[in-house]
């Protein structure tokens, strides 16, 4: 079943990469040659519906997004393990199934834990319930 992998298999990928990047570059450069380019201070200001921005835009955003990113990293790595199993599971027999069920138990347990902790609740008032329970 396994065929030796050579770099030549990836040649079409490389060609498409060059083609797509070249397409973007050529289009942008060609457009630059024919389009007007007349920046004024008003045009270059950050968008604020046409009025003058009073504050500089802050580069901060809610910490909740970091939480999603952390959860994603955990689950995505676990999914990659599943792919490895799904490809060879017919050779592993019931031993593999049992091992995978054990693994799934830990994945599900992680999910149940973060769910109960309120990490999957987006709204503060939903998350609040957990905080109140903790305090009581």
């Amino acid at each position: 079943m396994l065929t030796p992998v050579t770099l030549a298999d990836y040649l079409p990928i490389a060609v498409m990469l060059v083609l797509a990047a070249g397409f973007v570059a050529v289009t942008l450069v060609a457009s630059r040659l024919v389009r007007p380019d007349n920046p004024t201070p008003e045009k270059l200001a950050p968008y604020e519906s046409g009025i003058l921005p009073e504050h500089e835009p802050s580069q901060r955003f809610p910490v909740k997004f970091y939480l999603v990113a952390m959860l994603f990293v955990i689950f995505d790595v676990e999914i990659i393990f599943y792919f490895a199993y799904a490809v060879i599971w017919t050779d592993l027999g019931w031993y593999g199934v049992a091992a995978m069920l054990l693994f799934t138990f830990f994945v599900a347990e992680t999910l149940a834990y973060v769910w109960k902790r309120g990490a999957l609740d987006w709204n503060v008032h939903q998350r609040r319930r957990y905080i109140d329970r903790e305090a009581a």
Partner: protein, 364 residues
């Protein structure tokens, strides 16, 4: 490599590239027309017959428009983001087989850019890289609406990517039982969907052996997550105009904006094509080889592939016309509390059922 092999490579890659550009030009028009029909209006009518050249006209207009770079922008990242959006979108499609094979002399040319044995993983990796475009475009604009749109889009895309990955695992699990060992190669996955379910029961002898039937739950989860992954309504919070102006590409104008637009539509087409490939048997279909002229039965696989892809694309538009936009907390809870546990449960269920069919009961 010989000259013929280079020619074959050129046909594959340029064919895929041209198909994507042409499909994008057409798809924008198709979407506007279908939406218009569903809403009892005409849609674009002016440019060309039935407005079919509308996208060309829009593209030309953007081509001659000024492209403003805001004062506060991080120049390097700001200029890099359109590339990061377009390139992965095209690379996803390289893996998808979009037709049968034909011969140039002795060499067999398969109409698929590259048949990688890690095809599915490669597609998942590329769709992850596409997220960088969104987050970098949002962050480097130096403006508050793009920043918020960017982090929102990122959180959304990565949440639903987990669901996509999990639903694909059960497809791979099932595919492994349909031939000699498991595979992630998309060509092989299509091949294993050939034939009918006649061996299960004569009654279903006419039903094609597509993965959608045994993996119906995975199909529903995958399609839902694919709509979210491509930022389409009802999951288009990325560009929720009322709150975010235009989302992560608010500060992009002219041709740089057109690149994000192109990437979005290429992604929708690739996702529809991927769905058709994994669940609807890809390019498989009757070709009546021998009874029809060779060039017709040679072109029929591509026709079947396009019909299936556009059926899925139509569902994308249909969903957009039907459902109102979700709230952000609803979006996150649908992804994390419904789709991911659902996909995990379906994975365990199909894993156990398939194991019983493959190995017999462990106690007997």
């Amino acid at each position: 490599m010989t000259g013929v092999e280079w020619l074959a490579l050129g046909i594959k890659v340029l064919g895929a590239f041209g198909l994507l550009l042409l499909a994008t030009l057409l798809n924008v028009w198709v979407e506007r027309k279908v939406l218009a029909d569903m809403q009892n209006r005409l849609g674009p009518m002016r440019a060309g017959p039935f407005g079919v050249l509308q996208t060309v006209a829009d593209g030309l207009k953007l081509f001659f428009k000024e492209s403003i770079m805001p004062r506060k922008a991080e120049v390097g990242m700001y200029l890099l983001a359109p590339f990061l959006a377009v390139v992965p979108a095209f690379l996803i499609f390289v893996n998808i087989p979009w037709g049968g094979s034909f011969h140039i002399g002795e060499t067999e040319v398969v109409l698929q850019g590259a048949d990688l044995d890690i095809g599915l993983l490669f597609i998942l990796a590329m769709s992850s890289i596409a997220v960088y475009a969104v987050v970098l475009a949002g962050w480097s604009s130096g403006s508050k609406y793009p920043l918020l749109g960017g982090v929102r889009a990122t959180a959304q895309a990565i949440s639903y990517e987990a669901a996509i990955g999990l639903s694909l695992v059960s497809v791979v699990l099932f595919t492994a039982t349909q031939g000699d060992g498991g595979t992630l190669s998309l060509y092989e996955i299509v091949q294993r969907q050939s034939g009918t379910w006649a061996d299960v029961h004569p009654i279903v002898g006419w039903v094609p052996r597509w993965n959608i039937i045994p993996q119906i739950a995975a199909f529903v989860i995958f399609l839902t997550a694919a709509v979210a992954e491509t930022n389409r309504a009802p999951f288009d919070l990325v560009e929720a105009e009322q709150e975010l102006v235009g989302g992560f590409h608010t500060e992009y104008s002219g041709m740089r904006f057109a690149m994000f637009f192109l990437a979005e539509y290429v992604n929708i087409f690739s996702m529809s094509a991927l769905t058709a490939t994994l669940f609807l048997g890809g390019w498989l279909g009757p070709t009546w080889e021998g009874t029809l002229p060779a060039f017709i039965s040679g072109a029929l696989p591509t026709v079947w592939f396009l019909i299936k892809t556009y059926a899925i694309f139509f569902i994308f538009i249909w969903i957009r016309a039907t459902l109102p936009r979700l709230r952000y907390d609803q979006l996150m809870s649908l992804g994390w509390k419904r789709l991911i546990p659902g996909a995990l449960g379906w994975l365990v269920l199909s894993g156990l059922v398939l194991a019983f069919r493959q190995f017999g009961a462990p106690w007997g």
